[in-house]
Amino acid sequence: MDQVYLFSLTSKQADWLAHRQALIAENVANVNSPGYSAKELTPFAEVLNNTALAQRSSNPMHMVGYGGATAETEATQAATWDVKHSGNTVVVEQEMMKAGEVARDYSLNTSVVKSFHRMVMMTLRG
């Protein structure tokens, strides 16, 4: 089973999804803040593909948003459907859609972990 890095992969995705949920919370909370622009994480597939050396925040003083980020989860301004009169680019409907996506992906993630764990246990018990 060592060849299949499934647990590491799922925990990586769980981390990414949790960060995305925090970012969605941030966007929804700031839905009426003038001048705030919606943020989005780099897609997970891109995070996995990106093996180049990236800049890291090596010090807690380095400024990051959304509840303590890692280099793998970098927030950028999102392309949203609409810009409001106040310069705010958050669209609640879009954020709700994203939140649904996160919940779905997380459910899949935990189901994969569960069944894989069951497989490992089956092997152990014989």
Binding site: A18, Q21, E26, A29, Y66, G67
Partner: protein, 138 residues
């Protein structure tokens, strides 16, 4: 480093708090929609406005929302002819508050909707936390 799901809950509750402050301001405006001055020619109640701003929380590093400033509406007062009113000026006109009920109702609906959106985020974050805990049960 703070757990992102915990900070998601914190961010959403800051949003709920900001929206409820907004709702309080709306209710103040609606309650005082008929409040005129006491002395002849005195200014009536002035409509209050509320603004939000994103602020960086230094503990979790999250962008919370806070009520930025509670200001007053600068638009002109309406005046109505009512010579019997104690606030009437020499010509019998009374200055009335610059509160527009339609605007206030709109504001209320929007605050309500934003509050609901924040609650939805809290629900979903809690669901995700529960899914993680369920892993231990299997």
């Amino acid at each position: 480093m703070a757990d992102p799901l915990v900070s998601a809950l914190k961010i959403a509750s800051s949003g709920m708090e900001a929206q409820s402050t907004r709702l309080r301001i709306v209710s103040e405006n609606v309650a005082n929609a008929e409040t005129t001055g006491k002395t002849p020619g005195a200014d009536p109640y002035v409509r209050k406005t509320v603004t939000f701003a994103a602020t960086l929380d230094e503990v979790t590093g999250a962008n919370l929302v806070r009520v930025g400033d509670i200001g007053t509406d600068k638009s002109a007062f309406e005046s109505a002819y009512d010579p019997g009113n104690p606030a009437a000026d020499a010509n019998g006109y009374v200055k009335r508050p610059n509160v527009n009920m339609l605007t206030e109702m709109m504001d209320m609906r929007e605050a309500n909707r934003s509050y609901e959106a924040n609650i939805q985020v809290v629900k979903q974050a809690r669901e995700i936390i529960n899914m993680t805990i369920d892993l231990l049960r299997s």
